[in-house]
Symmetry: D3
Subunit: 325 residues, 6 copies
């Protein structure tokens, strides 16, 4: 038997965390969690709409994290992230991790009709092409999007954060309702953890008129509180449908839970006008404006989770153990 | 204004169709649909378990299709397909299309726990590495698996084939029941096309004992016929659960519909012992043995659909138009 | 001696030309030049800022051209182009050519300071990653950007178009002045073709104050007409400097010639207020608004040149012969 | 002159060694040599023949070795290895080394007839595609197979192990006979090291009947002991030929030496029935069954050699120095 | 059953054949065989040693062949070939085939000692990187070098050409002697085809002095004519050894046969001074000078074979059929 | 807030510096600057013109630098560098940096006419293909060539070295003259730093005779000393033109400054015959011969700059800070 040399775990260099322009508040929160300062950088959008990035600190041999989310303007934020990667790569970073809490184009994840793109795969390819070595994100629209990447990555789940918040409410006589049939399996996880029954919103087009739809709730919500769950609220259109359907079926208090509170277009006006008991989301995108509009909006910060994952990725410690897995 | 030269559509060379060893009957059916003969090849498995392929016809400048499905022995069939691709590539084929009606490892399509592979993505990478230019498959476990490929491909849907067969049965008072919550959205498509209500099988572990499960049907099946739908039946385990649950909830006749009737392990014995009215599947894998075991098994041939897609791929005509899209 | 089979030139399939949303007028002009109709497509920007493309005609086995320029909003137009490529690739196009008359990020073509990106190279990589087989563009900021691409491409020169227009003016006693020392060599080409002397604008920072600059004209412009040449006018800042310098040095009539009249930020207001005799540019970006603002703006259409190059690319005929090379 | 910072050698992280299912005994031997425990993992072959791997220890930032050989079932073992790599890559291993003592498909290493694959190259590509950073193997069928890999690797030679064992036998009046002309050069190395003369087995088809062969020994074996050398014994077919030929030419005691004692099909029965003095091989594949069948089989363990190479690879110390090179 | 559209074989465009500077005579021979003219090109080596290539004919959409062999100056010829490929690729050739009859660095095909390159694999990678789609070569040093390429290729064998020439000599009482043990298997092919016995040259270092060697002939050459076979003669050093050994063993007339008569350094002087009956080789490299030096040199032209293979590659017809395979 | 583990900067292993055969003197200078010895290697050019490299020290887990410049014989030096990379990669180096002070083929950096290569891009691709992880070079012909590389690199500027040398001369009444209009912008940098006026050499073909040229100086050199600046002097042809033109325009003392004094073909004879006051260059290529020919040649060593950059690259410290950037 021989003795191997004593080894430390693999060392990717000291940490450097850059914030893109999309969500500096979250980046700051993460940096504070990690006890480090955000690295300095110059971000310019020239009058000709071209984005320019200059790193004001050396990244040579460093373990670099670029925190940028895909809130609007989405394509500017994507390009900024890619350009950031290129600057870090050419600046000789030892490792580059793109931290994009809300990954865009998640709903464009398959060809469900002819001659459409799979933009979520394209996103993965672009990020790799720009030089990223890893990614960190929160709750992909479909878990399979992990497989669109060749580089390793960590998908952080907001499930524990959100379900624990709900557990503390000690709701009784409540039912989980999935806002979309594609979320049925994740809805079941909420139902199981919260020990509630499960119901589904089904939307079906009527045969004679393509515009008119039949909305039905499969499962029982009558005289019960309802927790509508989904991964993302965008314009709030389907949520309005579900709200109507559960109300028509006799529901009492309505809670809404989602990871990504995107709230675009008419969303905030719509939600404000409706009698939701509480809308619970996270700050994977900035929520300042939404909070000022919706008094019953609860925003749970995803920052500590992202920070903890980054610490473990940087240190080479297990991320899975965060969930006792 | 100038005049462009008259052009034909792009020409990938004459067609050559090879059958792997997994499903010669389907390959033959496709070849007959297309009015061509299968190309000759030598397939050997040496005593040392190494597979050898020799093409007995020149593929130089030809549009080659390799028809091989992923029935057991799965890994032999995968390797055979990859080796086939290599032989065609080095034999200077103009284009190579892998036709794999049942794509293996579809359920390994995301990291739903730490430190597991995404083997479905690996499969896509292996097929591309071996030299395939395109793929054709039937009903992927998740549509997102399309995005695991960089090469273009055509996912043939068995939905029209199966739903038209069901329509002709003119079932009344029947309910669609999805065997798995991940199939909820596709279950809705069956329900809408057949104009039936929808119900879901939910399986939940009880808190005190990891082995014991609570099975429930969400939606109404009492005193109704039931059509259980899923993409694949493997050991039949979940189907047994669903069967029990719908029976307990008062269901009458039970139909089962799935694209991929894999029927492995105890499946055929289990299914044979149960009072299913009819089990309907396709021949994406060989069904000879299953048909001899299950008198109430109906196998719809996927051959003409695959043949038609291949004809359109070869000719450069729209595949989407097959579905009026 | 043997006889080879009779061959046609390589055939990339019938032509399909799509217009992105940035410059439909130019796409229309090109289509008319080629005697074909633009292919139908659906372009949507969803409320969540995600772009969606659906091709409304089959591209299977077709020779596809996507015409999209990089006018503002630049990053939206880039992403739209990439998504378009992905849709065409997955739709089984035989060949995809990105026609981007004005290529963005051209000035970010080298690391002239530490820790900056080379975004022009990134652009080339992104276009290739998205599936483009070729590109066509007009007057890159630096010819070396061709080398950023691995795929073949055609850089169309506007030099003949612009210089012939100037020749017809039969200017006498005129001097070519380059607006930027990086354009010196191309300025010499104008001077040689028009048989005019050459002068240069030099800008130098004074040692004691970083903001103040010394502007000087190297070469003789006194009592002469002046043709200021550059590849691009963006905000018009340097042009204002050159204008002042040549005026201070006794110049008479001032003409301005550039390929890309981007005219962003304060450009149109600035230019309008100055006594330029004529500003000559092309429509590599839309010029409708600029034309309404600047009465002395002449826009030469690049459409026929692009159309002719596309015809030759499609037919497999020499592009170099267009310039007798 | 400046002073560089003090550096350690490159550090790939702590070691993690996983055993695949093909040869746990060898993996255990290696682990013992290195004084570490094998890492825990779950290996399942589902009833549908799909292989599943789950790493039960974190590999994040670790230097991972996957020990798996290509004994039967060969294609299962290949796929298992590839899936293992994917799990380690996605689990963020710092470096992944595939340790495959017997590399399959080695005889499929060139196109010696039209339209056949080069499966050994395909193997190298598959291993790289799955995410391996390095490989370790023993005695490739042809040294050129090293060049099929782009990733670095270490081909361990069993020559010293086997030749030193033979030296200790102090054979006199013995001749080395190569079992195959492709092994002539390596046979010469045995002859030179053992200071024995060399002879060759030649097999030639007779002109009138493709089935009948003329076997001849080139060189002198009459009244001499014979050591038949080859890289691999598979079915033992050629060995039977060589045995007959040397016997016919008057040989006395017959020894057989090979690296890879695969012994498939009729091999063990054949060998058992023949008067070999001793058959010497290594455990690059499991030899338990062969040892129980063949009393005159000597198995030299390759474990310590592989362990020593792994130690040096892990520590960044020279492997070449093991052979004083 | 449906009817596929009538198809021609795949069409790679009209043929264009360029000759590099290494072997214009062979290129001319091939062009004549194919009944076409060589395409015009400008080849310059600037005073600063940089090579410049300009194609004087359009290659857009053409099936291009670049004929260049690796005679001295080898590295100039390699770089010229690579630069040629780049010019063709950027000039939009439809397909590029590198025709390199003598592939350099063939003997650097494995790591037979630590810390050496595998330059033959590097060559394959360079050729692919430069844009070649295929290669054609003659008699690689090892067949496995085919596997160093990912692109398809055709290795032309000179075996039939050379063996038929020998057959016509009707040699009696002759023995094939392989010049190198690595050529043993190919030597056997000569022996079998010519129906001659086989012998081997073995070279072994003596233990006490690294410089002194023992040369022996294994097999019988006494009072027989001898045909020494090898793939390549370079300096002729081993050939001198073999010559001495067969003479010492009583051989009569000595013939030498090899594919690649490189004849470098002292080769021609050495060979001229020795009593070879005939030296037979091909013109995979230029042989003008060798022919003027060696009166008993017979050069068989490889031109028609290469031309025939190119015709079949261009037309998409089987190459294997040339050898009735 | 959590505490990250203490980390060192990323560690690429101990340094190993190899010198190629082109410029051992510079490599020695660099090694001395860094206080290390050059690593031992065997470099052979075989009689058949094939280059062979063997590393005589282990590079396993080392941070390797290969110093080789592109002086004549250029293509041999390129191939030697690529082969060196391959040996290091297969020898398991942790990181490979190609240090090529004078990068060849820089003038072949764009298609300025049809059907020519972009050999500078090809160079970048070849270096990456051979396994280099980084490059270090001095003053590329165009900064954009950085963008030809995907791997990170450091372009060392000789500007400070040369301009500080000139500053110390305290020239008065001197003018900077750019030898080529492509160098205008860099000429301006010299003029600004030295606080001198700027003039340009313009060369124009006359219309009636392609051979005759009009040479003119734009800017004032009459009765002034002149400093002619360029990146490279090759044959000295344009320098002769500029010399004549400034002399004709009344210049007094003539200095010449360039980074790369290649001096090929007639250069040294030409320069020797002319009344240059001083020619100032660096040793990016060996200057021994030039110094013996030209008494007024000043060679500033680039060695310390390269050494300092290598130290910072190795240590993971900022290179940009060398220039206070």
């Amino acid at each position: 038997m021989i003795r191997l040399q004593n080894k430390l775990d693999f060392n990717y260099g000291n940490i450097k965390i850059f914030s893109g322009s999309s969500h500096p508040g979250l980046a700051q929160e993460v940096a504070e969690y990690l006890g480090v300062s955000l690295a300095r950088r110059e971000l310019v959008k020239f009058p000709n709409d071209n984005i320019f990035v200059r790193l004001e600190e050396s990244v040579r041999g460093k373990d670099v994290y670029i925190i940028n989310t895909a809130s609007a303007p989405v394509n500017d934020n994507i390009m900024e992230t890619l350009i950031f990667c290129d600057a870090c790569r050419r600046g000789s970073a030892a490792r580059i991790t793109v931290v994009m809490p809300y990954m865009p184009y998640g709903r464009s994840d398959k060809k469900d009709q002819p001659r459409v793109p799979i933009t979520a795969r394209l996103m993965a390819d672009l990020i790799q092409t720009a030089g990223a070595d890893r990614y960190i994100t929160v709750d992909l629209h479909a878990g399979q999007i992990q497989g669109f990447f060749s580089i390793p990555g960590d998908e952080v789940s907001s499930f524990h954060l959100l379900s624990e918040y709900l557990l503390e409410k000690k709701l009784e006589n409540a039912t989980i309702v999935t806002n979309d049939l594609g979320f049925a399996k994740k809805g079941r996880n909420y139902a199981a953890t919260l020990d509630m029954p499960l119901a589904f919103m089904e939307k079906r087009r009527t045969s004679n008129d393509a515009k008119s739809e039949i909305l039905s709730i499969i499962g029982d919500v009558n005289d019960r509180d309802v927790v509508i769950v989904d991964d993302e609220i965008s314009t709030g259109g389907s949520l309005m449908n579900t709200l109507k359907a559960v109300k028509d079926n006799g529901a009492r208090d309505i809670y809404v839970v989602c990871t990504h509170g995107i709230f675009v277009g008419p969303a905030l006006e719509r939600l404000k006008a409706q009698p939701f008991k509480e809308i619970i989301t996270t700050n994977t995108v900035p929520q300042m404006h939404a909070k000022s509009m919706l008094p019953n909006l609860t925003v749970l910060s995803i920052g500590p989770l992202i920070g903890e994952v980054m610490a473990r990725v940087h240190d080479g410690r297990s991320v899975g153990e965060m969930w006792n897995e």
